[in-house]
């Protein structure tokens, strides 16, 4: 019969399943070759990849924790912007970066709480709730921002001793400021929590089949509330990264669409932390490449086109390689009981 056609098709599918590893392998090979030919440029490009990917992976972790528990969150952009602003103000008025980071996280949790209130308690359409948050954050931060505020400084790289002296990986991985380290640690923590703990099992069950969770005595809405608030804290950290670690100051609408890219990154990563990390790194790499190309300036391509590179690459990879991924079944649906 059609067995032959089926096998060749399924071997294709196998290949696609490992596409993430294949891309990762290619990147590793390319960076080693790059390092051997031009150590300095390669190192700075990889370091920039990691920097660019940090707010994206944090945003994606926020998104996937929300969606795994059954709540759509398109308000990540607004959560990031609002907490970037609060973190910045805290830095301006206290001059204490630890307090500033804490303030950014708290601000994110606060907005997360607002989202949970609208989505879980009021059972509002979750797309609308997210939009409300985006508009609110843009409006509030724009209104209260006054130019000319200055800060004492920003988070500085922490050198991890001998590790940082390793060639290539040393300066790229082991000489970073704290939020970058935290983002990497959070990827592992999130994976562990989601797939190896009681909390994670319940979270996933609530996002896939809430009534199944309800009938074994799990409080669906409480799980959703808590997860969305924690996720807000993670988005808050992403906001803190922007004003306290990357730039050191605030600008209007400075998130610049990163919250939405983070959502794409989450989907590209098939709602798994490591998948999302891979996707965020790919996007970060494309952004770094783009900067590098503009910097060299020898190629005669208008810079607008080079600027599109990360987005085009994401679309191509998303559409071409990743294949169909399946969101949590109950995502976006409020849970109704008797």
């Amino acid at each position: 019969m059609s067995t032959l056609a089926t096998t060749s098709k399924s071997s294709w599918r196998e290949l696609l399943r490992y596409s993430g590893w294949i891309i990762a392998g290619l990147v590793v090979v390319a960076s080693i070759i790059g390092y051997l030919s031009n150590a300095q440029v390669t190192t700075s490009m990889l370091a920039s990849t990691l920097r660019q990917s940090t707010p994206l992976i944090l945003g994606a972790l926020c998104g996937l924790l929300c969606e795994r528990t059954g709540v759509v969150n398109i308000g990540i952009e607004g959560q990031m912007l609002f907490s970037a602003f609060i973190g910045f103000l805290a830095n301006v008025y206290t001059g204490n970066l630890v307090i500033a980071v804490a303030a950014a996280i708290l601000a994110g949790m606060l907005v997360g709480g607002l989202h949970a209130f609208m989505a879980v308690y009021l059972k509002m359409d979750q797309i609308i709730a997210g939009t409300v948050i985006n508009i609110l954050a843009l409006g509030l931060t724009g209104f209260f921002y006054t130019a000319g505020l200055t800060t004492e400084g920003k988070l500085q790289p922490i050198n991890l001793g001998p590790l940082a002296d390793l060639p290539l990986v040393g300066p790229v991985l082991f000489n970073n400021p704290p939020i970058t380290y935290m983002a990497i640690i959070l990827v592992f923590v999130m994976h562990y929590v989601l797939f190896f703990t009681q909390w994670g099992l319940r979270t996933r069950a609530v996002g896939e089949h809430p009534s199944a969770a309800d009938t074994v005595g799990i409080n669906v809405n409480r799980m959703r509330y808590i997860n969305v608030i924690i996720a807000g804290g993670i988005a808050g950290l992403a906001g803190g990264f922007l004003t306290l670690e990357a730039v050191g100051s605030f600008e209007r609408a400075m998130t610049n669409g990163r919250g939405f890219v983070a959502l794409a990154v989450m989907i590209f990563g098939k709602w798994t932390p490591f998948g999302a990390w891979g996707a965020a790194l790919l996007f970060g790499f494309a952004s770094a490449l783009q900067t590098q190309l503009q910097f060299i300036g020898t190629i005669e391509i208008p810079h607008q086109f080079i600027g599109m590179l990360p987005y085009v690459l994401t679309i191509v990879v998303l559409a071409g390689l990743v294949g169909r991924s399946r969101p949590p079944a109950a995502v976006g649906k409020p849970y109704e009981t008797d």
């Binding site: 190896f196 009681q198 319940r202 069950a205 199944a212 074994v216 005595g217 079944a329």
Partner: protein, 508 residues
């Protein structure tokens, strides 16, 4: 078997439950003895599921009290019921499809290793232990969505046993099972009661009740009619208790007078969602005025065949003609317009728009036409009076025609679909599992309707997994096995044994 001397484990007294406009349980009392199988019978909408949901803490009674081992209890949620040893397998399974068996079993009562960590290894051990102990074979690491319904049901039972349930509620467990799977379930139920577990078992199949029950309780219109022991009962006495009138279990029909060919299927092949060919080179014909039964164990391509014939699934090879017209690539609307009626297998997914009121569900096949449509506006008055007429003709039990379809009981949902499909002139009726989950009274009614349509000259294609239904309605039978037609039999040739063999794939 008389287990009425065994101690009473569960006692419900004077339970009343009111939904807006409906008195679902009216002063209902029930007792359950240790180690017995109590069958709970009743028409669709009699209040069986409601009563069970109250015992499981999902609903809260308006009045009445529950006692477990003599102690009065008050359940705020399922967790309370679970702690009191009650387990329930719902009419619709409560399993997370993308998770493994073991994850589903432990969910909510996880085995831990400290620090919030799951101990999956130990959980797998415990699940294997349980499944060995009670003879419930299942692979703990399998993913739920890959398992057949019979096994999924086993997982539900293991879930309850894992929570140390000693009272097990099974809400219509056999509605979705093949006869073999049902036999296996009964064996399991006997094993469980032998170990002191008590079971409340809801079903609409009277044969099963006489086969497995130690005691039978009957509900009608929210009230408990009485409890009897199976020894001195027959199917018809039970049916009468349920419905309150004499029910004719045997379909009365005259010989068919087939005339013109209404449906001709030529070498049809259809693929399922995984792109596997599941309907393989099927040819058949149905004439006006006859019922062609399609028998077969579920999952042998019947579903895909019906979906192809109603335009819901693309055809991968062959053709089919309705009233002489090539309809192979028609849309569902075009096929409906050829005066084809369809009673779909999955009534909640393909038969009704659940949040819509009954009146809107009654015009899903005609909303775009006068009198229901005035150009692009709807005519509410016409829709309402149409629905009211159908509700009374088909005896749909509902407080009003604006009640959402989702709050109807299973049998009444089916009646809404049948009423809608028969409310327009029909030339070809395609009915898939038309009486699944339906009480004897309504089965009698739906069977009568189908035969009436046949006698009016409608061609009927009846797909059913119930041999009794096939045997009592059909004028000819084909058997499907692994996507192929195993042969066409006249009613004289179609004995239970012969059909059983063909359904198992044996050709001689």
């Amino acid at each position: 078997m008389n287990k009425t001397n065994a101690p009473i484990v569960l006692e419900a007294q004077g339970i009343t439950k009111r939904f807006p406009g409906v008195l679902a349980n009216d002063d209902v009392s029930l007792t359950l003895h240790k180690g017995e199988i109590l069958a709970l019978l009743g028409e669709n909408g009699a209040g069986k599921s409601t009563l069970m949901n109250i015992l499981y803490g999902l609903y809260h009674q308006t009045e009445g009290e529950i006692r477990i081992n003599g102690q009065r209890v008050l359940f705020h949620n399922p967790r309370d019921a679970i702690m009191n040893g009650i387990g329930m397998v719902h009419q619709h399974f409560q399993l997370v499809p993308v998770m493994s068996v073991v994850e589903n079993v432990i969910l909510g009562s996880e085995v831990m290793r400290g620090g919030g960590r799951l101990d999956i290894k130990r959980a797998i051990q415990e699940v294997s232990e349980l499944s060995r102990h009670y003879g419930l074979a299942v692979d703990p690491t399998a993913i739920i969505e890959d398992l057949p319904v019979g096994i999924q049901q086993r997982v539900e039972i293991i879930k309850a046993l894992y929570r140390k349930a000693n009272i097990l509620i099974l809400d219509e467990p056999t509605a979705v099972l093949t006869p073999q799977e049902a036999k296996e379930l009964f064996r399991i139920m006997h094993d469980l009661t032998a170990q002191g577990i008590s079971i409340i078992f809801i079903t609409h199949k009277l044969k099963e009740v006489l086969e497995v029950a130690d005691r039978i309780a009957v509900m009608r219109r929210g009230k408990m009619v009485g409890a009897v022991s199976p020894e001195n009962q027959t199917e018809s006495t039970l049916a009468e208790m349920m419905v309150g009138r004499n029910v004719i279990l045997q379909v009365v029909k005259s010989d068919a007078h087939p005339t013109d060919q209404m449906l001709r299927v030529e070498n049809l092949s259809v693929k399922d969602d995984r792109k596997v060919t599941v309907v393989n080179n099927v040819s058949l014909e149905v004439r006006a005025g006859e019922v062609l039964g399609v028998a077969g164990v579920q999952g042998n391509g019947q579903r895909e065949l019906v979906e192809a014939l109603t335009g819901m699934r693309p055809v991968s090879g062959g053709r089919f003609f309705i009233a002489g017209q090539d309809a192979t690539h028609f849309t569902p609307r075009q096929i409906t317009e050829l005066q084809v009626a369809h009673i779909p297998e999955d009534r909640e997914k393909h038969g009704l728009v659940m949040p819509y009121p009954i009146e809107d569900n009654m015009i899903l096949n005609a909303y775009f036409k006068p009198p229901y449509a005035n150009g692009s506006l709807v005519n509410r008055a016409a829709i309402r009076s149409h629905a009211e007429a159908l509700v009374s003709d088909f005896d749909v039990r509902t407080p009003s025609v604006v009640t959402p379809a989702s709050s109807l009981s299973g049998g009444n949902k089916q009646k809404v679909i049948v009423a809608r499909e028969f409310s327009k002139p029909v030339k070809l009726l395609i009915a898939a599992q038309p009486t699944r989950g339906i009480d004897v009274g309504s089965i009698e009614f739906i069977h009568k309707q189908i035969i009436q349509q046949r006698d009016r000259g409608v061609a009927v294609l009846l797909v059913s997994a119930e041999l009794d239904e096939i045997l009592s309605l059909s004028d000819r039978v084909v058997v499907m096995f692994e996507g192929r037609i195993m042969g066409t039999l006249s009613m004289a040739e179609a004995t239970r044994e012969k059909l059983g063999l063909l359904m198992a794939g044996s050709l001689d």
